[in-house]
């Protein structure tokens, strides 16, 4: 692996997700000793009698001063400012509980929404099974995950479908500088919101949503291989249905509903009430 990555390149990958920054990537299993080379034990490792061991199945990452293991599987572990797609599982007087695929349900307080809500009116805005795009705001030692809906690209999701993939594969779905996601968007014309928790909201024609799903599942299956963007590109080009109206010819600029390269404006889910349309669709 690592063909498509420059060894020694540093810092593009997000913390906790496999990143190409370490040159040779070594797979370790729980209980295996990691040569720590004087580095401090970080997440995914533990130290006994001066030796460092992996506590997770994953790839070893040495970023002085710490050595850590980046997980390849498992539930979504929230990090502050992550944008995630969640589903309402419970409604209380002042807050909703959201399933974001993390170990705990995340409370979304009504003050964390753009709406003015009186006590008890929460259910008029979001009900069980509604889906939202929210950002992780706070993590407490109790395991509580605070989320907010105030921010660019955050809000309730209307229509579309949610496809769940492994959170470890999210960087591959986005691709280098957003290359993968823009390829998929360009070929299908679907609107896509990728949550860091591996939940991907897709909206478009039924055909487009199915094709996006195919791509996402393929990435989920084979995300560890190189050259995926090209494979997805040729797959979509070969299966493009003529007459769909969303052919590759349109989509050079307008369909980029998603620009994940920068950390802040990563997500483009439309807030409620401001149904923004893609410029191409208006034409």
């Amino acid at each position: 692996m690592g063909n498509g990555h420059r060894p020694g390149h540093r810092g593009r990958g997000r913390e906790g997700s496999p990143s190409p920054s370490d040159g040779e990537r070594v797979l370790v299993l729980p209980g295996e000793e990691i040569p720590a080379q004087g580095l401090k034990p970080g997440p995914g490792t533990y130290r006994v009698n001066g030796k460092t061991y992996a506590s997770l199945l994953g790839l070893v990452s040495r970023r002085p001063p710490v050595v850590r293991v980046l997980p390849l599987s498992g539930r979504y572990i929230p990090k502050p400012n992550d944008v995630v797609v969640g589903t309402v599982t419970d409604v209380q007087g002042t807050f909703w509980l959201l399933d974001i695929g993390a170990p705990r349900w995340a409370p979304l307080h009504m003050t964390g929404t753009p709406w003015k809500i009186d006590f008890g009116e929460t259910e008029q805005y979001l009900r069980v099974a509604d889906s939202v795009v929210v950002a992780v705001e706070s993590l407490e030692a109790t395991g509580r995950i605070g989320v907010t809906m105030n921010g660019d690209g955050l809000g309730k999701l209307e229509g579309g479908t949610i496809i769940t993939i492994s959170p470890a594969k999210v960087p591959r779905v986005i691709g280098r500088g957003g290359s993968m996601i823009s390829t998929i968007t360009r070929h299908t014309g679907a609107k896509i919101v990728v949550g860091q928790n591996g939940r991907v909201w897709v909206n478009g024609t039924p055909e487009a949503m199915l094709r996006v799903r195919e791509c996402l599942l393929l990435i989920d299956e084979e995300g560890q291989r190189s050259g995926l963007t090209q494979r997805i590109d040729s797959y979509l080009a070969s299966t493009g249905t003529p007459g769909e109206g969303e052919g590759p010819s349109h989509g050079e600029d307008g369909h980029r509903t998603h620009r994940p390269a920068a950390d802040s404006d990563e997500f483009d889910g439309n807030p409620p009430g401001s149904e923004r349309r893609d410029p191409d669709e208006d034409a």
Binding site: L56, R104, A141, G143
Partner: protein, 253 residues
């Protein structure tokens, strides 16, 4: 060939030191492990061990139900060991019984001692072990399957947890009993080992042994666990190594 009551006791140990299935005393049955064989679970594994067939699924860490079981400073580990009605010759009465409750409890406690439960307060890590076909040693096969499933689920732990049973058959100490040896042997001693520290986190015993036999049994069991440890690691490696073929070939619609 004598007889005890009505049951015909087979010759468990031949004059050549070979066992009923031709194995040597320190030989394991063939073991095949597949990691990540289920879709819906956070982690899963399927184990074929001799004539045992065991599936394990792990969910979590996730919200605790019922709430009152929740612990403020750590995750709880819940285990459900279940044997299918069709897993044995005579139909097994389905559902919870004393045996499965006991096995569930000791397995949950063994895993709780190796999982870093403090990392996930107020959550539950749920381990499901389903025995599809049984031929002695199903709790050990269940632990092996569950341990691979836990690693597949990305749950942090001290180490994988290989397990094996040692027993006394025909007067000799033997590794990894099969059904006839378990039924007609003199003793059965399942154990689970933490290879990293050398600790045993599960030992049970049925039958009789001398102290000297017990200590030899433990040595034999630990050596057996280390062999199984290698097979467990190979299963996870082939599931996750970058050039491995995609394991979950078909995706449900």
């Amino acid at each position: 060939m004598g007889s005890v009551g009505a049951a015909e006791v087979p010759v468990l140990l031949g004059p050549d030191g070979r066992r009923i299935d031709g194995r040597a005393l320190d030989e394991l049955r063939p073991i095949k492990i597949t990691a990540g064989s289920l879709h819906q679970a956070d982690g899963s594994a399927y184990v074929e061990w001799g004539m045992n067939k065991v599936m394990a699924a792990v969910y979590g860490p996730r919200e605790v139900h019922p709430r009152h079981l929740q612990e403020n400073n750590k995750a709880i580990v819940q285990c459900k060991y279940n044997m299918a009605a069709f897993a044995v010759d005579e139909r097994k009465r389905p559902g919870l019984d004393r045996r499965s409750q006991e096995i569930s409890k000791v397995i949950a406690e063994a895993f709780e001692s190796v999982i870093f439960v403090e990392e996930f307060p107020r959550t539950s890590i749920d381990v499901y072990i389903e025995v599809l076909q049984a031929n002695a040693g199903t709790r050990c096969a269940g632990i092996v399957a569950a341990s691979v499933a836990l690693a597949d689920a990305g749950i942090p732990m001290v180490d994988l947890l290989p397990a094996v049973a040692v027993g006394k058959v025909g007067g000799a100490i033997a590794l990894d009993l099969r059904k006839e040896e378990d039924n007609f042997g003199e003793a059965d001693l399942p154990m689970a080992l933490v290879p990293q520290s050398g600790r045993l986190v599960l030992i049970q015993m049925e039958g009789h042994m001398t102290r000297e036999e017990l200590s030899r049994s433990l040595d034999l069991g630990v050596a057996g666990c280390r062999k199984i440890y290698g097979i467990m690691k190979d299963a996870l490696r082939s599931r996750y190594s970058p050039d491995a073929p995609a394991p979950r070939a078909e995706v449900p619609a």
